[in-house]
């Protein structure tokens, strides 16, 4: 058990872990078929988010801006918003157009909900089939996952209504921490029980990296518009990730479909709960393949624990990914002396982390030094600097992963994904031991604290650092 610390006294953020909530909102909207996010702010708000998304996914990212200038900043941006929506509806004809306010419009306290209503009325038939979604991500609270959650809530709010139930159909509200590979794995698992599902959002159909037959100015795939209209036509709603709870509650309230929230789907216990839930819903025993996967996970945990037990792991991740990663590494017997996250999400207090900070990547490095060093760092690519300074390898997880290809296809949910993650952690720790020689192989041996600039030997980790992507 731990308590969350916020470094209130610190004014300067050094090497942020956090990205902006509107970026997360935009990403969620890209998981809807023919979706197009529109950031209501200055051009840079869109440009920065776009570049970072492109660098992580290595895919075209349709993302537009209302391009607020100084006049609109003073007088209000509603005219630009209307012009942007008009242009987009006539040019790109998205199925879903998601409007994401930014810090700029939040600071002005623009009444976007009212503006959008007025615009929809004025545009009338010009809007065509386009569904307007208001995705008010709280720019000043949290990061990517909070923005993502707000956008999903906005989609549910705009689309969900009661429908006749379809037995055996599940709506999965997928959290921001799930990769394309995770979504594929969830779908496969659900279908293994003879159930069908709608994933919302569904990046596995949009940003999975494929070669389409034509150029598209909107998202390449994702949850189809028809499936949005049918969100109420399910037997059950499954939200994966605690941050999806508000959207799940809203969907249940709108449609009457009972919703279940699973904080995580990573690790043996979480995968067991998921399988039990599916088994109950489908009214059938887990199929042989799923049982075999569980057996393999048990074996993987046993094999992996030798390298892991007693090792010290520092984790930098948004709340729900942090929960998944901490659960698995502590299941393997690692200690987590330090973890850093982006916001004070409820439920994190119970995680087996010795020190949990709401902070940045510099806090991770400083706190890990203070704790006597660590053997492995898990976090996004920008955590490489901290990992190097600590003389520990970096296992990449989360967003952004700028120096890896294929990060979207790394799986960490269910029996199979948990198995893969256990292997990745153990192998990363083993590589580190080999690199540093046998003195380090004994987890009880004292670990030299490295201060300041990394030595040449420590820098070696950059070239040989393991990747969650392999």
């Amino acid at each position: 058990m731990t308590t969350m610390e916020t470094r209130r006294t610190k004014a300067l953020t050094i090497d942020p872990l956090k990205v902006s909530p509107p970026l997360g909102a935009a990403l969620a909207l890209l998981g809807v078929e023919r979706g197009l996010p529109l950031l209501h702010g200055a051009q840079g708000c869109t440009a920065f988010a776009l570049v970072l998304l492109v660098r992580h996914f290595r895919e075209a990212i349709p993302l537009q801006t209302t391009a607020l200038g100084e006049i609109e900043t003073i007088l209000g941006g509603a005219d630009n918003l209307e012009a942007a929506i008009r242009t987009i509806c006539s040019k790109s004809k998205p199925a879903v157009l998601g409007v994401c306010p930014t810090a700029l419009t939040d600071t002005r306290s623009e009444d976007l909900a009212a503006d959008l209503k007025g615009i929809a009325t004025r545009l009338g038939p010009e809007l065509g089939e386009t569904l307007l979604v208001h995705a008010p991500a709280p720019d000043f609270v949290g990061g990517l996952q909070e923005g993502w959650a707000a956008a999903v809530q906005g989609i549910v709010d705009a689309a969900a209504r009661p429908r006749p139930r379809r037995s055996g159909h599940v709506v999965v509200l997928a959290g921001a921490h799930l990769t394309v590979g995770d979504l594929d794995a969830l779908r496969d698992l659900i279908e293994a029980f003879g159930l069908t599902c709608t994933l919302l959002p569904d990046l596995s159909d949009a940003l999975d990296g494929h070669i389409p037959d034509t150029w598209s100015p909107v998202s390449l795939g994702g949850t189809p518009r028809a499936a949005l209209d049918d969100l109420g036509a399910a037997e059950a709603v499954l939200a994966v990730g605690a941050h999806m709870a508000p959207a799940a509650a809203l969907l249940e309230a709108r449609t009457g479909v009972p919703a279940t929230v699973m904080d995580t789907a990573t690790g043996l216990r979480a995968a067991d709960r998921l399988v039990a839930w599916l088994s109950r819903l489908a009214g059938r025993r887990a199929p042989a393949g799923v049982r075999r996967d569980r057996s393999r996970l048990l074996d993987a945990l046993i094999d992996a624990h030798f390298a892991a037990v007693g090792q010290r792991v520092a984790v930098a991740a948004e709340p729900d990914l942090l929960r998944a990663l901490v659960t698995l590494v502590t299941d393997l017997g690692c200690r987590v002396p330090v973890a850093v996250t982006t916001t004070r999400a409820p439920g994190l207090d119970g995680l087996p982390v010795e020190r949990l900070l709401v902070g940045d990547l510099d806090d991770l490095e400083t706190a890990a030094h203070a704790a006597g060093g660590v053997d492995l760092v898990i976090g996004p690519s920008p955590a490489q600097r901290a990992a190097q300074a600590l003389g520990a390898p970096l296992l990449r997880a989360g967003f952004p992963q700028l120096d890896r290809v294929g990060s979207q296809h790394v799986v960490s949910v269910g029996y199979r994904g948990s198995r893969d993650l256990a292997f990745a952690v153990a192998n990363a720790l083993t590589d580190a031991v080999h690199r540093e020689g046998p003195a380090h192989a004994d987890p009880r041996a004292p670990v030299p604290l490295c201060q300041g600039q990394p030595s040449a030997q420590e820098s070696d980790h950059e070239a040989g650092s393991p990747s969650a992507a392999r």
Binding site: L38, T107, W215
Partner: protein, 479 residues
Amino acid sequence: MLTDRLAPVFDEPACATNRAKTDADRKAGCRTKGPAPGAAAGGCAFDGAKIALQPIVDAAHIVHGPIACEGNNWDNRHAASSGPDLYRRGLTTDLGEMDVIQGGEKKLWRAIREAVERFDPPAVFVYQTCVPALIGDDLHAVCQAAAERFARPVIPVETPGFVGSKNLGNRLAGQTLVDHVIGTVEPETTTPTDIALIAEYNIQGELWQLTPLFERLGIRLLSCITGDARFRSVAQAHRARAAMVVCSQAMLNVGRGLRERWGIPFFEGSFHGVRATSEALRGFARLLVERGAPADLIDRTETLIAEEEAAVWRRFAPLRDRLAGKRVLLYTGGHKSWSIVSTLQDMGMTVIGTSVRKATEDDAARARALLGEDGQLFGAIPNAEMYRMLRDGEADIMLSGGRSQFVALKARRPWLDTNQERHHAYAGYAGFLVLAERIALTLDAPVWPLVNGPAPWDDGWDPDWDDGWDGTATGEGLA
């Protein structure tokens, strides 16, 4: 107040295009009509300012704003450093709700103090963004007080994103250097061959492809603005004997500032391509000799050019056949719309078209002259049309920036990044060869025949299919 500072930036007297305008046009400035909401692409003024100043490697660069401005953006350029890496740290006040309500000045003050205590930088640049500008944080007052308290320059960069485009931000950053930095430090020694490079950002180490040339000529690079720069070296730029503005759209005002305040002559040029590089070296030699450098510098420069050019063509020979006749679609901006055309033509390639959507009229005229009848001048090409051109095999390769890369890649056609996110250094004679080699490697990469071949369910597939790819796109074998 802001408008007062913006107007002169748009009316650039050193700009040939600007001078050629009528009085009325000039008064309107070179600011293009604002971006179209819902159909705009490109960064904001803050983005442009950060790009232009961040290569000062030993300074702390603090972004005063909410997380979007730095959290989505830090360490995303490839400007290289030969030493300090403080410029790569993501430093921000990460403004929250309470800061908006109470004002962000105190937090900014404390952030500057923390940066000084932690990193002890020779100078701190503080970037204003939209939100603190809107709530009225007085950046200048905080910076002035901090400079006094912490006994080092703390420089306000007043470029909230909403004031305009990335290019405007480049210019405002240049003006900030002229107003607050250049002329504040005296060099320990000066020589008659001291030069300044302006708007050379050392992307992927391009500056280091040039410094050996200067060294061989006995020319001292006193100040590079801002590639691999130390704060002190930028601050002493006013003692240069001659200057060159590399990317004129970005920082012509810095060249003019040097000329007006300190009488330093400058010229505009480029280091992309053999001819451009030779011209740039000649330009420096001429200006330096005019200002008192030994007259033999001109002859020595000609000797070096002759040697280097001969060496380039000798080393280029093995690549010539691989590149000859290959058709290039060039989609870039500014002076690159013609300077790269001439470079590619020197390589024996055919430029089927270049985009002049971000070029001045002068740039466009030069591009037209170079292209002759073979190539087209394009404005903005819609992505769908660009996709069709590539898919239909109208070009063998596209050279462009990251924004359009996926149009080529999804059309399964070779593509090479020639913009600021590029992964290789293409400056000077050495860079010409690197570019030629990268183009050849990209064109001949085995993935193109592989990904353009038929699938097992297509007509024409057989288990032993051989692509017979000759690097020429035919449009066959499409799904």
